[in-house]
């Protein structure tokens, strides 16, 4: 490939953001191996249909959206469109860091059991620090939907771990006798 051609394509941008794209794909499907495979297929399509990228659009938002739409497309073509990778809590926790650094299993289990769209909402807003509008662009939903999802997820997490039957505020801490392994 000529340098001149390379300069004017989206390839350099994709190369740079590969770690982020990989994380996005991993979180989407909930497993590293399947995530890498999904990313590979999505990248092939992005590069083959590079002309669909509109200059001026943030490349990361576009690429995240492409991976998500590719996944949706594959899901729709699948015999069992509701079928998903069986997510194991332990391996899922490792998506958040190498051994010893991963998040506590309770949090990992909670996130792993969320619908993929909700997992991605958390990643885009809390991890990638996209605003609600851009996160909505990636996931093809209005910004308001992103806000609502965040409330529901947080409330559900609080319900699950934050309160015992008596509403004892110490119950949350009792579930976490030690600090989470992630700093």
């Amino acid at each position: 490939m000529q340098a001149e051609e390379f300069q004017h394509s989206i390839r350099p941008g994709l190369v740079i953001m590969l770690p982020r794209l990989m994380r996005f794909a991993d979180l989407l499907v909930g497993a590293r191996e399947e995530g890498t495979a999904l990313l590979r297929r999505a990248l092939q399509r992005m590069l083959a249909e590079e002309y669909r990228y509109q200059r001026g659009v943030a490349l990361d938002v576009w690429a995240f959206g492409e991976i998500y739409r590719h996944w949706l497309g594959e899901l729709r073509e699948h015999v069992n469109p509701m079928g998903q990778v069986n997510i194991e809590d332990e391996s899922f926790a490792r998506l958040f860091g190498e051994e010893g650094d991963e998040i506590d299993t309770m949090t990992a289990s909670f996130i792993g059991n969320l619908p993929p769209q909700q997992r991605l909402t958390l990643l885009l807003v809390y991890g990638e620090r996209l605003d609600h509008t851009d996160a909505g662009r990636v996931l093809d939903v209005p910004a308001e939907t992103i806000a609502v999802r965040l409330v529901r997820i947080t409330a559900a997490f609080a319900d699950q771990f934050g309160q015992d039957e008596d509403g004892n505020p110490d119950a949350f801490e009792a579930l976490y006798p030690e600090e989470p392994t992630l700093s």
Binding site: P12, R20, R40, A158
Partner: protein, 293 residues
């Protein structure tokens, strides 16, 4: 018991409420234990979720991108992109090589479980935070439509030149690029790194605008071409002003235009655009120039 929705409480926990609203919630918390416990639980849940996802990228940055990455955009030089493609032997590098076109068609090995190899890859996505890079990004937002309405004051080139010169540097001149097929449309002030940047916009017979940016500062005197995605840019410095000429043009064309501008700036007489008018240059306005910022 006071009824407060989770929506409101999560917004409070997330720091999205205005000060007055936050104070109102806090007053409720002081008086209502049930709400206080709910906020406590939401705050814990929120902080744990946020920390989990922050840690993903934080750990990644520590591994892949010392010392920092900003959110990378699509601007990257060929040299940088090639560097990342050739730097490592792990998953990221292999994917990078495949994307970069080394080994078409895109056939990738099974990389699962090899993420730690990413440590060998030098992160090249963090762009140098020069003002030229910043304004080149802004250039991507411009179109011909951006210039369809021109304020009346833009017709007074002397005034524009004077105003921009006052704001940026007195030696700044408005280049005349008519001979190169570009007519001046308007000038305005931008801001980068807290300092004023003059933006002079030109239109050719077709295509996107051509922009000359000027900012006070020192740099290399010789014009140097850089590519920012589809946008090309030529940088140089002259008499305490650093310039960036940016547009969707190739390197030879942009370099030629930069040479023309440089010659006009170096000429002892005012630029052709202002020829014959400098003696009547407007007096310094009493008020701050009303150029757009």
């Amino acid at each position: 018991m006071t009824e407060l929705s989770d929506e409101l409480l999560v917004a409070y926990v997330d720091g999205q409420l205005e000060r007055k609203q936050s104070r109102a919630v806090e007053r409720v918390l002081e008086q209502d234990d049930v709400i206080a416990r709910r906020v406590y639980a939401l705050k814990n849940a929120h902080s744990r979720l946020e920390a989990s996802f922050e840690a993903i990228l934080a750990g990644e940055e520590a591994i892949v991108a010392p010392p920092e990455p900003q959110r990378p955009g699509f601007f990257v030089t060929w040299a940088s992109a090639a560097k990342i493609g050739l730097a490592g032997a792990g998953l990221v590098a292999a994917l990078a090589l495949a994307i970069a076109g080394y080994g078409r068609p895109l056939v990738l090995p099974n990389f699962a479980g090899n993420r730690s190899d990413a440590t060998e890859v030098e992160w090249t996505g963090s762009l140098p935070s020069t003002w030229q890079d910043d304004v080149a990004r802004a250039q991507a937002l411009l179109s011909r439509e951006s210039l369809s309405v021109s304020p009346e004051g833009q017709a007074n080139l002397d005034l524009i030149g004077f105003q921009l010169g006052q704001a940026v540097a007195s030696g700044l001149k408005l280049p005349d690029l008519k001979s190169e097929g570009f007519r001046f449309i308007r000038g305005q002030l931008l801001r980068a790194g807290g300092e004023p940047v003059a933006q002079l916009l030109y239109l050719g017979s077709s295509g996107a605008p051509l922009a000359l940016y000027a900012k006070k500062g020192e740099g290399a005197a010789e014009p140097e071409f850089k590519s920012y995605g589809a946008i090309g840019g030529v940088e140089w410095s002259d008499e305490g002003i650093t310039y960036l000429l940016a547009g969707e043009l190739d390197a030879p064309r942009l370099t030629l235009l930069a040479d023309t501008i440089k010659k006009q700036a170096d000429a002892p007489k005012p630029s052709a655009l202002n020829a014959g008018k400098s003696a009547d240059a407007p007096q310094a306005p009493e008020r701050r120039p009303s150029v757009k910022q």
